[in-house]
Amino acid sequence: MFTKLYIFLFFSGIRCGFNARYNALDDFVVSDLSQESTVVFSVSTAGQGEFPTNGQEFWKALSEITDAALFSNVNFGVLGLGDSHYWPGEDGLKYFCLPAVELYEKMQELGAHPLLSIGKADDQHSDGHETVFSSWKAELWTALGVGVDPASIAESAPSKLPPDDVIKRESNYLRGTIAKGLADTSTGSMAEIDAKLLKVKRTQNGISFGLCLLYLSSSSMVSINRMIEICGSREGSRTKRRHSSS
């Protein structure tokens, strides 16, 4: 369940344009977390409120850190998964999502900023963890500045750019958000609309740009016809050469 939810969040994040990756907790080098701007944890509950097997090393390492400012640049969210009635009696309730709660508190101790309050998904609900998860993830997307639920965005929805004239007019003399895009080191690409400003290029079927024929009054009809013949028979190479023309 841990993996399923996490991967769902991951791909939803990718669809929103985040440069996201996902790891099991134990695959993180704990101190490297301070380099992340946003971390979303999804933690299931094992045993008597213990971390799951692939998160125990992580928790051990994290518990030993005491630097209260280590994660001051990190925003985070925690979703806990558990069962409020797994352990009988009043004591049982304190184990419910306990590792998630501990992680949520520890991250704040180390200076990290919660994006939203902890989500505690309870298997006791009639539709399981889904009840809390759906409202929690909606809150998460809002906190991350995403207006709509990414799951509702069709995967292949083509981006619709305004007409070139509008792009140019509104670009403030070809500025657009190029400078911002260059400064964004989280991706090697530029926004599609800025790529337009960097290089506005269209293909026009049937017209080969970059080719110039010069007819001189002194040229003989024979040489002109020969020229046309050569050009006509070399359509392939001419098209190819267009790519490196400017």
Partner: protein, 147 residues
């Protein structure tokens, strides 16, 4: 991809050498000479773009309007020894290129880190192109007729 504005395709030997080494240090090791008489480099990663553009400018060239809906690199007769007029035509091509180069200060601001006048008080004006530039690219070549 980065393309240089180089009227008439004329550069000095030192400019050539700097482009050559730039292709190795910031590109994918290839330096193309285009059919419009200029340099073109491929495989420049985003993080290397700005340094590459700045190096081109330090070598006294630029990349303004080598792409886009504007007048492109102005060409002229590429074979100087065939025409004693080449010098004059080259000078004309340079003037033409300078005259038709966009006036926007965005280039200097984005690529050369020139400071923005406080509060964006100065608004750009494009006396020739206007705010929408051209509907499509425009290409000029200056030819020398045979004697």
């Amino acid at each position: 991809m980065m393309r240089v504005r180089l009227p008439g395709g004329v550069c000095t030997t030192s400019q050539w050498l700097r482009m050559d080494s730039l292709a190795d240090s910031h590109g994918n090791g290839t330096l193309k000479l285009t059919t419009r008489q200029t340099f073109q480099m491929h495989g420049i990663l985003k993080r290397n773009l700005k340094p590459a553009v700045q190096e081109v400018n330090r070598a006294l060239m630029d990349t303004i309007a080598a792409c886009g809906d504007v007048n492109r690199n102005v060409m002229c007769n590429p074979i100087p020894h065939q025409s004693e007029l080449h010098g004059a035509v080259y000078e004309f091509a340079k003037r033409l290129s300078a005259h038709l180069t966009p006036h926007t200060s965005a280039y200097h601001e984005i690529w050369l880190d020139k400071q923005v006048v406080g509060g964006n008080a100065v608004v750009d004006v494009e006396p020739i192109y206007g705010p929408t530039y051209l509907p499509r690219k425009f290409k000029i070549a200056v030819a020398v007729p045979p004697r």
